[in-house]
């Protein structure tokens, strides 16, 4: 068998579906967009769709499935979101109940599935332009911080924006803004540059999630809206039921990152 890194999205999803891959998906199917998953009962779906519309930077919708639908159309023509993600988290009233490898038996006909863009897509674009991505260099998880920037609420959903931080040499900040601006559907341009205290971040060495990374002399911390935001907001709203992908265990689509870019 080929090394999994060299398989196509379809081949990898097939392995995942058969239970042969239940680990994180970073580094797999390079060039293809990966997506976050949030599943909610239909009664909460309008509010959450509205929340995403009002907060496109932390919540960039790639595809929303009809109530009860578990097959994607846009991101892939042959995927089943009940089985094609390595690990799922099932929440009841905002509490994590269990982690499972498929959700076929938990599936209900009123479930609405939301697939959201992921920063893997723009990180690949940064690397291609020779802009360093520190947590990848250091083989860590990206550092994430809860800011004091409020999301625009919608129905039961509200909360602060979570951001990721990537330190950059100051002469590469402008280029990083330009490059990530092309990827509006995967968090897009930075929401803040430098001066972490302005957005309520006290200590860059102590992220709220993920790992701290080295900030070299003269480097500027640059902040992007993070896909943890919708998950944190959904859990906080305590809907009766919510299913998400387990962190890092993403949906691998058939769409090239380049197909998501504008200009």
């Amino acid at each position: 068998m080929k090394k999994i890194e060299h398989l196509t999205p379809k081949q990898i999803r097939s392995l995942i579906r058969k239970g042969k891959w239940d680990k994180p998906t970073a580094g797999l199917a390079m060039g293809y967009a990966q997506a976050n998953l949030v599943i909610l009962p239909q009664k909460n779906a309008f509010d959450f769709l509205l929340f995403c519309q009002r907060n496109p930077k932390p919540c960039p919708l790639l595809e929303v499935l009809e109530p009860g639908e578990f097959r994607t159309k846009f991101l892939s023509s042959d995927a089943d979101i009940r089985t094609d993600i390595p690990r799922y988290h099932i929440y009841q009233k905002g509490k994590l109940q269990k982690t499972v490898k498929d959700i076929e038996t938990s599936w209900k006909s009123d479930f609405v599935s939301f697939l959201l863009g992921c920063s893997f897509s723009f990180e690949e674009a940064l690397l291609r332009a020779n802009i360093p991505v520190r947590h990848i260099e250091e083989e860590k998880n990206v550092p994430m911080f809860i800011t004091r920037i409020p999301c625009t609420p919608a129905g039961i959903f509200h909360g602060p924006m979570v951001v990721t931080m990537r330190p950059l040499p100051s002469d590469q900040v402008t280029r990083a803004v330009q490059i990530t601006s092309r990827y509006a559907s995967v968090h897009g341009a930075p929401i803040h540059i430098d001066r972490p205290s302005v957005i309520g971040i006290k200590d860059l060495g102590k992220p709220d999630f993920g790992d701290p990374v080295t900030i070299k002399n003269g480097e500027v911390p640059v902040f992007w809206a993070c896909g943890v935001t919708p998950q944190a907001v959904v859990v906080k709203a305590r809907p009766d039921l919510c299913i998400t992908h387990a962190p890092g265990h993403m949906f691998i689509s058939d769409l090239l990152n380049e197909e998501l870019a504008v200009l």
Copy 2:
């Protein structure tokens, strides 16, 4: 009193609210974004929001209000969408019942209001770049065509995409693509360039809506997704009730077109 062309969006909305302006809004509050309005009962709102998410080029959402809410937050902090549009169309089961100057007495607590971007915004950007906009030069309504490009359906909403056509000198087509790409929230880049028959348009001289315009020797027809698409789709789905702005009688926001631009 100042000429209406020189008033601010707030001053113009105030005149409209008092019933002192009930004509089209083209040319008013230059530089500020104008918006299309679609109001639906809550039971149809999720489907329509999903339709817009799936068809962002013809249906670029600028703001969606909470059920029952009639005050905008993002587009203006002091507007009332029940009174601040010059003329409204009220449809029942897809049939136009009447045209009115305000909808205060028709308002229901389950109404969800959708405000969508309008091509006035990118036309201003084209003119600023010395790119001709023929229907403005000829003081006509933009020519619109029903294409054979299907929208992606959502729930009860489906139908073909409607496009606007602007003829351009061939050496300005690339520049027009670049400029309008910046305005993704107001229809964005062209959906088709030249060769009208490919998208099902038989005769550029016979638009389905609006007026025919002159196409000079060597000019290329360029097609953009049109805000008539959501209205046509909504009317076709025959919801119990639907209220829209009357064509050309738009909502004038406090947001500069330039604030909608990316890059």
